[in-house]
């Protein structure tokens, strides 16, 4: 196995270990805790008042546009990371290239700003 794959194997092992640890602790808790459910106990908690309407309430997802913008900027970040590690070698050329790239993105942000989508309505 190559060094790279092996280092990610460790990550995998840690992920499994985290789930195993949570599972083990929940199992211990299962042995120790009482289990006496009553219908009243299982009602959704709404500050002591009986829930009004259905339990699956509808809610407006307010940040749909934010989420789209987020995807955009996140992809941009993925592009900037490799550039950032090699800036010394790229020199002025790389700097100007990235400045143009970031400028275009900032234009996009300002467009969204002017259009008024950066508001939590």
């Amino acid at each position: 196995m190559s060094e790279l794959l092996r280092s990610y194997l460790t990550v995998g092992i840690f992920g499994v270990a985290a789930i195993a640890m949570a599972g083990a602790m929940l199992t211990i808790a299962r042995i120790l805790r009482p289990q006496r459910p009553t219908p009243q106990k299982l009602i959704a908690y709404e500050s002591g008042v009986d829930p009004v309407g259905g339990d699956w309430a509808q809610s407006q997802i307010r940040y749909y546009v934010f989420a789209v913008l987020f995807v955009l900027f996140d992809v941009e970040a993925v592009f900037i990371f490799p550039w950032a590690t090699r800036l010394e070698i790229y020199g002025t050329f790389g700097l100007v290239e990235m400045a143009i790239f970031i400028f275009i993105l900032v234009l996009g942000l300002f467009y969204a700003w002017r259009k008024g989508v950066l508001r939590w309505v």
């Binding site: 789930i19 640890m21 805790r33 307010r62 989420a67 700003w113």
Partner: protein, 342 residues
């Protein structure tokens, strides 16, 4: 770099895993005791827990045992499987963060080349768990809290990543050990006595990182997802007993991990001025130095948490998109210019 011990892969990983299983819960215990119990109490002119053990240090053990004995209640309407998985996902995200955190030249679980990138990716996994918890609870408050948390975490993920970029440009590597080395061997205007902790040259990035981290950790003033006064606990309102404790542990474990990231990237990590970067003694002294720096950073996080009132949801979004992101982008360009010109 010389290796302290040469062990087969499985043995080495086994030892590290065993250590991590002890260290990770301990870190969140330290933070809860020192800051949530004691510091918060003193800031509010009260004593905090002081009955159980010397200075109340055993209070946490008592709390854990209490949580173990609590009945596990699932709301009748809840999506049981997702409801049960959610805290485990959040805890796993915290756990995976610790894989790359270095405490000495060799004292790191796995020195991934993509260090910073990996840490950012893994830390955003917790959003999934929080959204799962909010949605599966079949509770209006939980749903609102979960959606708020998702909106907040995606908004502050960006300044966090973009702020880190300045450090990456200076260090020319994503590897966390590489970043520590770059700070240790760096010079400020020809003076290399204390290296070049990036907090000096990347102060703006440090500020943005700390503010964004505060929001990522959903600490006050950015705690709308769990706001007690309006959402009675937000996404974890329906959780009881040990599942709630998992969320709680993950919250403080992540706070510790983010403090560690900040001290590695901005405060020079485990390096002590006057030592070689790969000196073996740093494997012993490094963890102590790291702990001191982490507690310092965590102190600031909790100081802000206990001092400031909560922001409003629209103010929070406005601040991320209209202040932090433009500032972080400007920081990248400025750092780039300085890097190329000097």
């Amino acid at each position: 770099m010389t290796t302290l011990l040469a062990l087969p892969y499985w043995q080495e990983t086994g030892i590290k895993l065993g250590l991590a299983l002890v260290v990770i819960p301990t870190t969140s215990l330290i933070l809860v005791y020192l800051f949530l119990f004691k510091m918060m109490a003193f800031m509010q002119s009260r004593l905090g827990p002081n009955d159980t053990g010397p200075y109340g240090t055993l209070q946490l053990i008592a709390e854990a045992i209490k949580f173990l004995q609590k009945e596990d209640i699932h709301p009748a309407q809840a999506d049981r499987r997702v409801f049960r998985m959610a805290p485990v996902v959040v805890l796993a995200s915290t756990f995976l963060l610790y894989v790359v955190l270095p405490a000495g030249p060799d004292a790191v679980v796995e020195d991934l080349d993509t260090g910073v990138f990996y840490a950012m990716a893994v830390s955003s996994l917790s959003v999934l768990g929080i959204l799962m918890a909010g949605w599966a609870s079949a509770n209006k408050y939980a749903l609102l809290g979960g959606l708020r948390a998702a909106g907040q975490l995606i908004a502050y993920e960006l300044p966090l990543i973009l702020a880190v970029m300045g450090v990456v440009i200076q260090a020319e590597t994503l590897n966390l050990q590489g970043i520590v080395e770059a700070q240790a061997t760096g010079e400020i205007f020809g003076f290399g006595g204390i290296g070049n902790p990036f907090i000096l040259t990347q102060f703006l990035a440090f500020l943005i990182f700390m503010i964004a981290a505060q929001a990522e950790l959903t600490q006050t003033p950015f705690d709308m997802p769990v706001a007690e006064t309006e959402l009675v606990g937000g996404f974890h309102v329906e959780y009881t007993g040990f599942r709630f404790l998992l969320f709680f542990m993950a919250e403080f474990g992540t706070a510790f991990a983010f403090s560690a990231l900040a001290s590695v990237m901005f405060l020079g990590g485990w390096w002590i001025p006057g030592f070689d970067v790969d000196d073996n003694i740093l494997n012993v002294l490094g963890p102590g130095v790291m702990l001191a720096k982490i507690l310092l950073v965590a102190f600031f996080i909790f100081w802000v948490r206990f001092t400031y009132p909560r922001l409003r949801e629209d103010q929070l979004q406005k601040f991320a998109w209209k202040v932090l992101i433009p500032l972080a982008l400007a920081n990248i360009v400025l750092t780039g210019i300085f890097k190329v010109v000097f």
